[in-house]
């Protein structure tokens, strides 16, 4: 961040220091900051997951998860989201090697896969609300389900916005080669995918 106060000397000091002490793991403050932020995010999601697990089977009225949740759509969704982790990995590989054209292609594929996941979730919710009559106020399952899956979907959406901005800036040529932005966004995306693995396991495999 090149805000006022962060003079070039600062970087030199940090780098000199890193060289001197051999502390290279987190010589970049931005990467460390992102790692810390993701730690706090995981604490947030663990809380929602605990609430979901705690209230499984405590409903006083239906529908229950077994009655409401259908697998085919969510499996397609999951495959798309997980493969988007692969495509962003490839994108980053090209980015590091300086092949920016391929980077943009794979980043765009990642955005499309993520967008497909969000649209898939929208169709799932439409079915749940209209056909299964499951809303957030219907029962405890609806309460915990929409909160957990909804916050995950919100994070996916934020990821999509970030990646679109990244794509735009990179295409316009405003992204410097030293900027860790692409890598940090890819970390965020992997995190969001990882959360989905846990959510899928709890909601659709264990809890159904």
């Amino acid at each position: 961040m090149n805000a006022p106060g962060a003079s070039p000397n600062q970087l030199t000091a940090a780098q000199a220091h890193a060289a001197e002490t051999g502390e290279t793991l987190f010589a970049d403050s931005k990467k460390l900051g992102m790692a810390c932020f993701l730690c706090s995010e995981s604490a947030f999601f663990i809380t929602l997951l605990v609430a979901y697990a705690l209230y499984l089977g405590k409903d006083t009225v239906g529908p229950t998860p077994a009655e409401a949740l259908s697998m085919p759509l969510v499996i397609v969704n999951t495959v798309m989201l997980l493969s988007s982790s692969g495509t962003i990995m490839l994108a980053m590989k090209h980015y590091r090697d300086g092949r920016y054209g391929q980077f943009r292609v794979f980043l765009a594929i990642t955005i499309l896969l993520g967008a497909a996941f969000v649209i898939g979730t929208a169709f799932e919710w439409k079915d749940l609300i209209e056909a299964k009559h499951l809303t957030i106020s219907r029962n405890l399952f609806g309460t915990t389900f929409y909160t957990l899956v909804g916050f995950h979907a919100a994070h996916v959406t934020i990821g999509l916005i970030l990646m679109s901005i990244l794509l735009g800036i990179q295409t316009a040529g405003h992204l410097s080669k030293e900027s860790p932005a692409a890598e940090l966004i890819s970390w965020y995306w992997h995190f969001v995918d990882g959360v989905w693995v846990v959510v899928f396991t709890l909601v659709y495999l264990i809890g159904r």
Binding site: K30, A43, F44
Partner: protein, 554 residues
């Protein structure tokens, strides 16, 4: 070194330009000062609320304030003091002094730093706006009246109509977002931006305490945010998280709240420990005793404090096994805290003590925090807690920790660092009046509460009946509260008076050893002309004593 706008120019510029600079600043020192000034404002509000409660409890069956108002007063007092006084004043001191102490020119993310401050400030405004805006469509309630831990079902739409609870939820949630961004920033700064040669093992202890505090914030605040979102969903979307009738459980809120609430105690306490760990060595003229054990104890507290939350819930009726586990864990946390007490005492032992005002506050901290810690151990005994929980004994206990401990530590920080931030010393005479009145007033307020609590006086009740032997204890407490109020007024006067009339401080008025004293008072915007190189835990000692530097002995 003086030739920059930050240190010399402001007096001549028009007010709008000065205001614009402060509102748009990303400088860690200016943000630190804004945190501290804002916390002073909230301290006045929180103090008034406390004073009103004490006046209401002067005699049995008084009706100075109504029961409803009393509920609002204790809710606002607790919320204000924790989220909007102690958190920001410590965030402010950390903001100002951690970069200076580790020899950096600013924080890692200056703009994120400003974002955190404004989140905190507007969170506070939102909370207090409830007095004006919370009437809502229902016309019920003005300030939140749910207690600072907002147990369900008091917060459910049925029992809390109007919007006061929503203001409470949103205000604390916003300030929590600010706290998390503060923590991310602090960790990144401390890990990556220390001056050349300063290893983690030679970093000032204040830096260590802030590092561990930040770690606790990262893991304690998000669950609280999640719980608050659940509460908002319950209140506005008809969700059932804490709705017993639909299978939900109010106990979940208690667990989630205290999973945040207990680490929060250490989030508040550790920075104060850090201040004490800086002040005591300087005014004992000795290096800190047991630096390594101090660091280990801090990290130990960090871990253990995440696993003791249910000791706030012994009276809820959990199983004996859970009670036993959390009671044991609570005893365990006394061990690293005890190590710290011994380290501070051992630092004093054999030192050449200089009884300056910051040192007096540090000694006051040691005495009062010890008592608060010991009553904490009493309350960790489950049967004892069943008897004393939610009585004035509990109030006395946590005020000995939060006021006698933490606030005395913060005051030590004020008097210690004021000369660096302002360039002038705080007045010693006013400081002595402040210290002794606060010390006497504090004890007069909270020692009697142990007795009224043991006699059975419950907390959060707007009055008490005559004839149960409570009158004298309550009257002593109220007199003490007034004395404490006077002492804090003297403190504010001292802050303002010394700003204009204080003695010039110079760069290093205390003959101290850490890097913040190596630059001018106040420091220039870039802090250090040349980034210092560090070889020991007392870099400034090394500079002053090239014949006998510390790094030869460490």
């Amino acid at each position: 070194m003086q030739a920059d706008t930050y240190t010399v120019a402001p007096a001549r510029r028009p007010l709008t330009s000065v205001m614009h600079e402060w509102v748009t600043t990303v400088d860690h020192k200016q943000l630190g000062i804004m945190y501290i000034i804002a916390s002073c404002g909230f301290l006045v509000l929180g103090g008034m609320e406390a004073l009103l409660m004490r006046l209401q409890l002067w005699a049995p069956e008084m009706d100075l304030v109504s029961p409803d108002t009393f509920n609002q007063l204790f809710t606002m007092h607790g919320t204000t003091m924790i989220f909007f006084v102690v958190m920001p004043v410590e965030a402010g001191m950390a903001n100002y002094f951690v970069p200076l102490m580790i020899g950096a020119r600013d924080m890692a993310f200056p703009r994120l730093n400003a974002f955190g401050f404004w989140m905190f400030l507007f969170g506070g405004f939102l909370l207090y706006f409830s007095y004006f805006g919370a009437m809502g469509l229902y016309g019920a309630g003005s300030a939140p009246d749910i207690g600072w831990y907002a147990y369900a079902p008091l917060t459910s739409p049925a029992f809390s109509r109007g919007n006061s609870t929503d203001y409470w939820l949103l205000g604390t949630m916003l300030s929590g977002v600010g706290s998390v961004s503060f923590a991310v920033n602090m960790i990144a700064t401390i890990i990556t931006m220390r001056a050349p040669g300063m290893r983690l093992s030679t970093m000032p202890l204040f830096g260590w305490m802030i590092l561990v505090t930040s770690g606790l914030i990262l893991f304690a605040f998000p669950p609280f945010t999640a719980a608050e979102i659940m509460m908002l969903f319950d209140r506005h979307l008809g969700a059932h998280f804490f709705d017993t009738q639909a299978g939900g459980d109010g106990l979940l809120w208690q667990h989630l709240f205290w999973f945040f609430g207990h680490p929060e105690v250490y989030i508040l306490a550790l920075p104060a420990f850090g201040i004490i760990s800086e002040v005591i060595p300087v005014f004992s003229r000795k290096v800190i005793f047991g630096y390594a054990t101090m660091v280990m104890a801090t990290v130990g507290i960090g871990f253990i404090s995440m696993g003791v939350w249910a000791h706030h819930m012994f009276t809820v009726g959990m199983s004996d096994t859970i009670d036993l586990l959390f009671s044991g864990a609570t005893f365990l946390v006394a061990v690293p805290t005890g190590i710290k007490m011994f380290n501070w005492t051992a630092t004093l032992y054999g030192g050449r003590l200089r009884m300056t005002v910051p040192m007096l506050f540090a000694l006051g901290f040691l005495a009062l925090f010890l008592i608060g810690g010991l009553t904490g151990i009493m309350l960790a005994v489950v049967p004892m807690d069943w008897q004393l929980s939610d009585s004035y004994f509990l109030i006395a206990h946590f005020h000995f920790v939060a006021f006698g401990g933490i606030l005395f530590g913060i005051m030590a920080g004020y008097y210690y660092w004021y000369p660096k931030a302002v360039g002038r010393m705080m007045n010693r005479k006013l400081g002595l009046w402040h210290f002794w009145l606060q010390f006497i007033g504090f004890n007069l307020t909270f020692v009697p509460m142990h007795f009224s609590g043991v006699l059975g006086m419950p907390r959060r009740v707007y009055t008490f009946e005559a004839g149960y032997g409570m009158e004298i204890w309550n009257q002593l407490s109220t007199i003490g509260a007034v004395v404490t109020g006077i002492s804090l007024a003297i403190f504010v006067v001292n802050l303002i008076y010394s700003y204009f009339r204080g003695r010039e401080a110079g760069d290093d008025p205390w003959n101290a050893w850490t890097l913040e004293w190596a630059t001018t008072s106040p420091p220039p915007a870039y802090n250090f002309e040349e980034i210092p190189t560090v070889k020991s835990r007392r870099p400034l000692w090394d500079l002053k004593h090239p014949d006998d530097p510390d790094w030869k002995h460490e």
